[in-house]
């Protein structure tokens, strides 16, 4: 199983996402934004960071990168695609996911260990969770407030396409505490928190068991592998 991670100018968590892919048992493939080549990967991760310095709008310039043509085609054909933070912003800019991300309501960058509830376990990236499962995933962003039109929100909620909801604390003012969403087909998922930073014991969020031992993020990647194996 080969999962590609695309590096854009200004990507920051690309190496971390590749490490998470390996931790889940897949082969990681480094992809470059300027290429028109997905190297035959089975799934894709658009990692976090500040592509193009967040100039214009977060993810807006990167969503026009050469490789995005191939990403959109692959997504439309059903390839599992995960957008994390800046990657989520790119997927929204590329219209693979509805809505948009704006400046946090409190105006500042925030980094915290964020509690989430898994709302949809039918997607390619969440099938390993149980419905309603509570997980802890690190969050770190300046522009993470999820916004969409009232009709879009109604449709997303009606179709069960809210994948994750913030639990306990809404860290950025997102509508309906939405932390992540999926497309209709369930192969494309985007969220603001960073699952790749909760995949290795010793380097994740704190848990009751031990400091920095949280690995809830690993299930995102093992879910994708399971989805590919089932397909």
């Amino acid at each position: 199983m080969r999962i590609g991670v695309i590096t854009f100018p200004g990507s920051l968590d690309d190496r971390d996402a590749r490490r998470a892919v390996r931790a889940a048992g897949a082969e990681d493939v480094a992809l470059w934004h300027g290429d028109h080549d997905l190297s035959g990967v089975d799934a894709l991760v658009l990692p976090g960071g500040f592509s193009y310095g967040d100039y214009l709008r977060c993810g807006a310039i990167a969503s026009l990168s050469p490789i995005m043509n191939e990403v959109v085609d692959a997504a439309n054909k059903g390839m599992p695609v995960l957008g994390i933070c800046n990657g989520f912003q790119m997927l929204a800019e590329a219209h693979l996911l509805p809505g948009g991300l704006i400046r946090n309501d409190h105006g500042a960058f925030i980094r915290r260990d964020q509690h989430l509830r898994v709302e949809n376990t039918a997607t390619a990236w969440t099938n390993g969770f149980t419905a309603g499962q509570q997980i802890v995933i690190p969050l770190k962003n300046g522009e993470g407030e999820y916004v969409a039109s009232a009709e879009t929100i109604e449709r997303l909620e009606g179709d069960g396409r809210v994948a994750f909801r913030y639990l306990g604390v809404n860290p950025n003012g997102s509508i309906n505490d939405i932390a992540g969403v999926t497309n209709e087909r369930g192969n494309v998922v985007g969220l603001m928190p960073h699952p790749e930073h909760a995949t290795e014991p010793g380097f994740g969020p704190d848990t009751r068991a031990a400091m920095r031992s949280g690995v809830d993020g690993l299930t995102f990647f093992t879910s994708a592998i399971a989805a590919l194996q089932a397909a």
Partner: protein
Amino acid sequence: MTEPVNQPPANRQQGTAPEASAAPVASGLDTVENAAATPDKEQPYATLGLKDDEYARIREILGRRPTSGELAMYSVMWSEHCSYKSSKKYLRQFGQKVTPEMKKNLMVGIGENAGVVDVGEGWAVTFKVESHNHPSYIEPFQGAATGVGGIVRDIISMGARPVAVMDQLRFGKIDEPDTARVVHGVVGGISFYGNCLGLPNIGGETYFDPVYQGNPLVNALSVGVLRHEDLHLANASGVGNKVVLFGARTGGDGIGGASILASDTFASGGPTKRPAVQVGDPFAEKVLIECCLELFAEKLVEGIQDLGAAGISCATSELASNGDGGMYISLDDVLLRDPTLTAEEILMSESQERMMAVVTPEKLDAFLAVTAKWDVETSVLGEVTDTGRLIIDWHGERIVDVDPRTVAVDGPVYDRPVAYPAWIDALQASSASTLARPDGTTESGTAELRDQFLALVGSPNLADKSWITNQYDYYVGGNTALSFPDDGGMIRVDEGSGLGFAIATDANGRYGQLDPRQAARLALAEAYRNVAVTGAVPAAVTDCLNFGSPENPEVMWQFSEAVEGLSDACLELGIPVTGGNVSFYNQTGATPIFPTTVAGVLGVIDDVARRIPSGWQDAGDNIYLLGTTREELDGSAWAGTVHGHLGGRPPVVDLDAERRLAELLRAGSLESLVGSAHDLSDGGLAQALAESVLRFGVGARVWLSEIVERDGVDVATALFSESTGRVIVSVPREDDVKFRGLCDGRGYPVLRIGVTDAAVGEQPVLEVQDVFTVGLEELRASHQATLAEHFGPVVGQGAAQEYYTPGA
């Protein structure tokens, strides 16, 4: 050897660089020829920050007056900030007070962009702390942001991948209206730049004191890692090699930042110095980092230097001085953001995100291919020569012709007057021992101790700093093993073996005012201890020396004391200083800041899995206090917070004991006997207990009776004294015998003072037996309220559990 001007670099327009013989007057340029012909021309050297005798010396070196371009170069390079002219005499001690043993693991010492330490397994770590104080007061956001950017470029210049940052911040009084402006700007700037670079921010310090009101301190530290073979140095060797400028374009920002801003005090009513502050673009720097690392990996670079203070003037003169001694530069080939810039402005501009490399002609195409891949603009400016001259042409005329060493190396050195401050005896005579201390044996006394404890926990300097640190990403990179609020930050270097480093910085300006020599020793001892409590072995030191004006003899006395104290202490502990920074002219009007000597200690740990956190994680562990407590309240947080007092002598430091304590902690870590370890410093035992509870929300029951009895101190002293060489550790019950044996075997004083997991009902508490009990919620509320009250709410603060995972 052909004159290089006859062999213009490949991309330069032919015909733009004829022999420098065009009529100087016609072009309006101040050429070398023109300078020789018009010796009496008035030059604005004083406005550029040069003194009369310095200007005279430049004329003597050149045998004529300098051109305006040369004057620009000398003025920035001979500034205090770049030349260390007042401090050089003292800084030599750092290089002299070393033993061969201390140098054993030092790959690069003082003098390069940053020191490099061999950490084993073929890995090396480079680190350095630098000041960006004055820009951060004028324009806090950009000042602090570019402070991070500058130190990170120093790290890249060594051939390393930057992997972490830290900041040492000192602001004015927390409730002065202007403090909020500076705090919001500085923290926002660090957050913006550091997060956007993808560098985990893993620690630092934040203090508030009126003495920094008109002159905050913003020190930035960065750490990088590299394989031994990737080490790069800043020298221009190999005649005919190309000199390449790449990164952001050169603009009109930061002109004269090193001279007129960093090397002067703020005067009220003068013209704004805002144009002297640089403006940062972290995206450009992030791309530059990745581009440089690819250039290093493909071995396309012979020598490299970042452009920081003094910009092109610094990079060209330093590269040439450290190499074959000569360089030819065509200034017309500098890519400009603003085409109206003059040659002098181009030479002095401190535009950010630029690097200068020396590249062999054969590798130039490959070099340009890599910079093109990263969309990094690049221009070939000239080449290395062996003429011993740095020659710069502009519009076909020669505007600079100097020996680069006279610019970069052989600048002025001052032996400034030194005077023992007349006021210091009276200050030292005013001991905190005369201040009223509550009687811990009476009911009213214990109630007062409880109030004082909570007042300290919520005092600006000891309060929770989440308002700041929540704006920093410590996850990025995936290698952060420890970060704030633990005593030291820790980063994994090798994913296979777990090899890593720990780093901590400390400084205490209040101690500095009482005794700058002792304060420097204390800062080093504390940083050393903070690294030791993580389980790492202290290995090397960086420092940032923040002082007032060197033209004030009392400040020079403070400085000389601090440098002697720090260099002696490094020798005693056997860890070398690998580099650092001096920042003078930190004062408002005639009032200098407290002497603030920041010591940063780097430690090595063979496997980060062994790391020790600073807070209690498990129930039923025994709590031990290592070290003894003396009545040392002079300069303490208690004296400052409770009594508004500063006087007396700072605590005693026993560096031999500190070393034995570090060895003891390492042994405990190796045998996995230690569940947590927290050093005692500001606020003493009381603050350490509070932080140990707050770290993971685990309570404790503690008794002071044995400390009181053994050390002959009262309850208040046991709680608030800042005696050194002390650490509290928690030890699982089953390891108790082994741990006591370890301490006894090493002869280090140890007392069991408590047990973890006290609770009243459901709520964890800190119970200090027979003195007071404070519930976790009240403790947390006191700790967290202060910064939120002054700077705004902290997201999620007050919400349920931060630590416990539901359903886990």
